[in-house]
Subunit: 488 residues, 2 copies
């Protein structure tokens, strides 16, 4: 067990923070609520970003870039949007500092006050739809399928690395369509892209669903989401895709001429995932020794360690094996450091979550074998040098699949159907995870449940089966179960 | 000549703006001084960014991410840095809006005033060096070779798309070293990376040099730069690499234990290029018909147009040829639109600067030929269908080289040696371009020349030959010529 990392059983929350900091993913910064994403963490984020970007492009989207700063008046144009975002934003009021008259330092120059304050984007619907007004005139200009990779700022009082920070990195897709159906189709298509990415790349099983009105994005007609389960039994919203109806088109007066020559408001979607996914990755898979990174996202997939140290005859073999692995597209590192002992190195790479470790010892090599350790199960085996590249390639694939299978089994075990309020409380408090229960469909009951238990409705799963029942809280009639959980 | 684009001879500045907007590179936004980078422009920027990123990684750098917001007091820690940046920055003073009491809209909540104002980063030396203090203890932590891709804000009164905008995108490398020599070596290595990128990818010849004290980055001991020449004879600084000495290490108290056990301040470099390069690309190569994009940076390198329209027998050939080109890694688009005539399409793709256009006509195909038009020279030729992929691959390479050769010839013709003040003025006013002239080495003379002519010293070229002479302005002795120009 790593001495730097608090065990999960002792303090799950501290375990998470220790891991993020000690494995070099991120750290707090000098600015309250803002984080520094460290090189190792950023490398994993780059792999996530690049794969998502490929998937967006494969589904016909292009990237663009819109301003960081939004005029205050823009936020007021969509009524629900103001309520959701105006309360927690960074406001730029001046554009200059000057030296103070008493020579003690820099002060804000009162003469450089902006006529209209600017808000650092908490999300970009308003600035983008004000631009789309210029870009969209006719049905020929539609659909507009644009994505942006950007930083956003939402003022947060209680922050946690990756999961909730004042500034975070994300992508936000903003699409414009001629019909309601096409916009809804896009909204769901991108939810599917997110779900596929989460499962196939992050090894993170997710439940696709729709949010209740209470949990909807401010300005959306419907918010779809993917919900994941962390090892402590808390849910985490991993991505959202919003059907915006015509609300932003109306707010910014974006109309188009149809084929038939009539004038109509444009239909919209928006969808996003953020560096929050890094937090989900850590909390879904890692253990008390450190991170466990899925092979497809690992910046280093295989580390080769000469044992007991980088002797010439060992590094020669290491180079050859690394060459064979690289030729198959595997990302390899050879650790030729001669300061630290193998045991120390093993612990370091376990902390970093490198999927596969190859130990090259002189005696093993003489016998034609290598020690192969896999990070997910921590199993070691002795494998023939001949054909090692094939073996490792297959093992990486197996680790990727095993991580998904393991996470899915845990998640499935933690979806519990309950029919009484007592059972509901009991599952939340002891077994944890998702609770599938009847709800009467009213925001009031939802609020009441949240107030009493801190559990929220994570989603109404897509293709939910309809069944007659009674609400666990109000006892009123219900037509379907929804998924509750305590959540990040 | 494109009707949408003002000819260069009429108004060079308007030509540039027309081109940037009409070719879909960028546009003004609702926020003063901030631009929207449109999908076509962003695609070219992505190609630039991805190639630079590969070059940074190949030279041992890793990416990370530091906060957007910088505490005001940080800017004060390095004396020269304040003077350079505090004057033009966006200041966040509050973190919340609220509904006004009279119900007329959103106002800044006076109760949500920050104790210390935050500045949107104009550059990140201060926030990064405050972080490096945590990361660097020993010589084993060095060198630290980190790059960041980010947006920055510098409040500008007069802006121009890409060339000078309040917000822009860039990369900033920030490295930390154990010795002065190593930091200088890094500074120059990255200058070389920039020069290689400019020449080999942008087809933009550059002069590598060092800035005078007047033009130095605030806080640097030396600023190195690459200077390019635009078609109107004005120079453009395309990238800078700064040797920062120990100034930021001292400002943020970043010391390390040497191998010998002594405590020393860390040595630093920083280096950056920005979306300004997009402006350089446009102004160095394009013509009155539109953009000319170098093949290596073009998001579409070849467009195939069935003539007179996409008949089935033509699109079948188009698909086959596109397949052959794609198999060679060439980025191809087939235009199967049947609304517009070929002449209209030709003009559109000339405006976008697509390097090669293939016209597929039934009669030509029957004779086994295709019409190939290259954008750089606007020459057309009839080429055999057999082996067309080889031909196009070679042509793209030739266009890339030709664009560099042409730009270099223009640049070389526009470096003029002068020895008198009269000639100096005359060259600046009529021939334009770089003027190579003796200067007495004083900031006073440099200021005077700038005041009278608007020409600045662009750089002292690296490996400048030393020669005895007299300053064109003061008549005082000089040991070398420097390059003057009017500049963007």
């Amino acid at each position: 067990m790593s001495k730097e990392i608090t065990p999960r059983a002792d303090d799950y929350s501290q375990w998470y923070i220790d891991l993020v900091r000690k494995a070099g993913l991120a750290d707090y910064s000098a600015v309250k609520g803002c984080m520094v994403i460290k090189p190792y963490g950023f490398g994993i984020w780059e792999n996530m970003r690049d794969q998502l970007d490929r998937m967006f492009k494969d589904t016909g989207h292009v990237n663009a870039y819109f301003p960081l700063l939004i005029p205050k008046s823009f936020l007021s144009k969509e009524a629900a949007h103001i309520e959701g975002f105006a309360k927690e934003c960074a406001v730029v009021t001046h554009y200059r500092l000057k030296n103070s008259d008493d020579g003690t330092g820099l002060i804000v120059d009162p003469e450089a006050k902006l006529e209209e304050e600017l808000i650092i984007r908490p999300t970009s619907e308003t600035i983008i739809w004000s631009t789309y007004k210029e870009w969209i005139q006719s049905y020929r200009d539609l659909p507009l399928l644009i994505n942006q990779w950007a930083n956003v700022v939402r003022w947060e009082m209680r922050t946690r690395l990756f999961l909730r920070t004042t500034e975070f990195l994300w992508q936000e897709g903003h699409t414009a369509h001629a019909t309601r159906d096409e916009a809804i189709e896009e909204t769901i298509k991108m939810l599917d892209v997110y779900a596929t990415f989460a499962e196939e790349w992050m090894a993170l099983p997710v439940i696709k669903g729709v949010k209740t009105a209470n949990e909807r994005f401010p300005g959306a007609e419907d918010t779809y989401c993917i919900e994941a389960l962390m090892q402590d039994g808390k849910a985490l919203q991993a991505g959202t895709s919003h059907f915006l109806g015509q609300s932003f088109a109306k707010a910014f007066d974006v109309q188009f001429t149809t084929k038939e020559g009539t004038l109509e408001y444009v239909w919209a979607s928006s969808w996003g995932v953020s560096t929050r996914l890094m937090g989900a990755l850590v909390m879904a898979h890692s253990d008390d020794e450190g991170l466990i990174v899925p092979p497809r996202l690992a910046s280093t997939q295989v580390v080769i360690i000469p044992i007991p140290k980088p002797l010439p005859e060992l590094t020669e073999v290491a180079d050859r094996i690394a060459g064979e692995l690289r030729a198959r597209g595997i990302r390899v590192k050879i650790d030729n450091d001669d300061q630290n002992r193998p045991g120390f190195k093993f612990a370091e790479y376990e902390k970093l979550g490198i999927p596969v470790r190859l130990g090259l010892g002189a005696r093993d090599l003489a016998a034609g074998t290598i020690e192969v350790a896999r990070r997910d199960t921590r199993e070691k085996s002795s494998v023939a040098v001949d054909g090692i590249a094939d073996y490792v390639a297959a093992l990486l694939e197996e680790i990727q699949q095993n991580m998904l299978t393991r996470a899915r089994a845990f998640r499935d075990e933690h979806i519990t159907r309950v029919d009484t309020w007592e059972d509901f409380i009991s599952v939340l408090d002891t077994k944890t995870g998702f609770v599938s229960a009847h709800w009467d469909g009213t925001p009031e009951t939802e609020d009441l449940i949240k107030e009493e238990t801190k559990a929220t409705i994570r989603c109404i799963p897509l293709d939910n089966s309809q069944e007659v029942g009674v609400c666990i809280k109000s006892g009123k009639p219900s037509t379907q179960r929804v998924l509750f959980a305590r959540a990040y």
